[in-house]
Amino acid sequence: MGKRVLITGLGTFWGGRVAQALEKDPSVEVIIGLDTTEPKIELDRTEFVRADQNYSILARIVRATQVDTILHTFLVVDSTRMTGRALHEVNVIGTMNLLAAAGAPDSSVRQLVVKSSTLVYGASDKDPTWFREESQRTSPPRTRVERSLIEVEDYLRDFAEDNPHVVVSLLRFSNVLGTDIITPISKALQLPATPCILGFDPLLQFVEEDDVVRSIEFVMRDKVPGIFNVTGDGRVPWSEVAAICGKRTWPLPPIGTGLAASVLDTARVCELPPELLDLLRYGRGVDNRRLKQAGFSYRYTSAGAVENFAEASRLRRTVGDSRPSYKYERDVEAFFRHSPAVVRETHA
């Protein structure tokens, strides 16, 4: 019998891409995708279930489908996406319900992979140049997204302790860049000129989309428990990131940066959330060696991820979005998956 996998956040970049990757893996028998919104990419055999954002029906789904693996990719790290309250609801309450379902006495779940972010380390003047997985952050969390992720990680730690029979992997991703994903950083790099903070040129790390998907697959397949930083090798100064993307930088004042950012936000020029402003001031470095020692190999360095992103955005500027647009239709998807008229390959 193959793996039975449940993916949260199927409608997001993360969940969708991971589901796509798992569909090609014959050892994965069942893929169930959960989200509040419909998937935005075409999927062959993933079953989509609509849930409310804090997964109150999750316990029922787990019981009914007997999944053995949960990939929890639906943690919001981009605070410009939703209000602080909604973010708390999705990240903290959602994860709580998910862990309750996974840890129920008769639960079939044996593996849990959670996507977190290096935002949990913060960015401050007192930081070491490199954070290891067990390093403590040096400043108290200031923003809602950081607080919610830290709470999620605390719950997860308790869960791992209470459920030694479940392989728990926690992946902390640095800034993700790629052809598809939209983040405040990718948006800032697509402006005619890239915002920076006057007099600061911090060193940043990036991880490419493909490496994100591959690392999730890797810990799932190899069942590696533990906490892992996931980021490409090397650190790139922000000015150089802009230069690789062919952009000039325009400076925000070093004093009253938050105020300037809120003016830009109001004027709808760009959104620079407080955690990004910290990053653009102090930068952040995380040590990625633990995952490499576990056997994972990256396909992109930090600079490589930036260049790949720059190439993709140049292509998009010239030819537009080349991918065919996809619209989820429930009855069509149900037909392909369940109608006896469709000849399906058996995955066994």
């Binding site: 007192k126 070491p128 650190r235 150089e240 070093p254 056997g295 190999s297 396909r299 600079a303």
Partner: protein, 292 residues
């Protein structure tokens, strides 16, 4: 790019025990545009800084070294020196001298305060400055076998007034010894004569320091003579003499979680005393502040 293409691992889905695979032999493309390293140091900017600084080094401070052969041409070592002058003039002299003479980079550990300053902080990082965090020092010394410069007195060194010149302050809590022990590298003390007179502090204004959030607010002889603007950047042409003492090796296992506190304090104190005595010796031999 075939995303998630089943790789070798897929053929053994039941494997529970992880088998380490050899790292990818091929180098990943790394399309960098600048030579800023992972610490923020740029050799190009250092080169430019050395070219600009050379006249000051050669003709203004007329720096003379003694015992440079005590600094190894390869392998990690922690350089410790006495710290002086309102805006310390010793760090650039030591870094410039060693980089010119030995042709290897020196990373200077300094207070986080630098990192919060616009422009200054960035320039400082590009010129080889690293925030003084134990993990940074360990990584530089142990894993990368670099030369690291640290002033154990911290900001208490340059905060001394002219009346207290060449009186070494407490060497922190001996953290530098513990780092050297953990990294398995020697400590190399460097005695610096001249920095104290290049920008001596007449008196300090504690209330101004408090208001600005900096460790001390000095009023220097340079400011009194040259005015408040030129006085903050214009050093007096004191003659610099540096003596490198033999490396101090600690006969302990590296990578321990903890080292005996008393041993660490004793070693730190021994190094402090050795530096202090060397300074007295060099001052005894010094005939003129300006001509050495």
């Amino acid at each position: 790019m075939a995303v998630g293409k089943p790789t070798v691992e897929a053929s053994r889905p039941g494997t529970l025990v992880h088998l380490p695979r050899p790292a990818d032999p091929e180098e990943l493309p790394d399309p960098r545009l600048s030579d800023v390293d992972e610490w923020g140091r740029s050799e190009n900017i250092r080169q430019l800084a050395r070219r600009l600084y050379a006249p000051f080094y050669n003709n203004w401070f007329r720096v003379e070294w003694e015992g440079l052969e005590n600094i190894p041409a390869e392998g990690g070592a922690l350089l410790v020196a006495n710290h002086a002058a309102a805006i310390p003039s010793d760090a650039p002299v030591i870094m410039h001298g060693i980089e010119e003479e030995l042709g290897r980079p020196v990373y200077g550990l300094a207070d986080y305060l630098f990192k919060t300053m616009p422009i200054v902080g960035t320039m400082w990082a590009r010129a080889g400055g690293v925030p003084a965090h134990p993990e940074n020092a360990y990584r530089l010394l142990r894993e990368q076998q670099q030369l690291v410069l640290v002033f154990p007195e911290g900001s208490k060194g340059p905060a001394k007034t002219f009346a207290e010149r060449y009186q070494l302050r407490r060497f922190g809590r001996g953290g530098f010894v513990e780092i050297a022990m953990r990294a398995g590298v020697p400590v190399i003390p460097i005695a610096v004569v001249g920095a104290e007179e290049s920008m001596p502090i007449m008196f300090k204004i504690p209330s101004a320091a408090k208001a600005l959030g900096i460790p001390y607010f000095p009023v220097t002889a340079n400011m009194l003579l040259l005015g408040p603007l030129l006085g903050t950047i214009g050093y007096f042409p004191a003659k610099f003499k540096l003596r490198v003492l033999p490396p101090v090796h600690f006969d302990v296992e590296p990578d321990q979680d903890r080292y005996s506190r008393s041993r660490v304090m004793d070693e730190a104190e021994d190094i402090r005393v050795a530096l202090q005595e060397t300074l007295y010796e060099m001052l005894k031999a010094r005939k003129s502040i300006w001509f050495g």
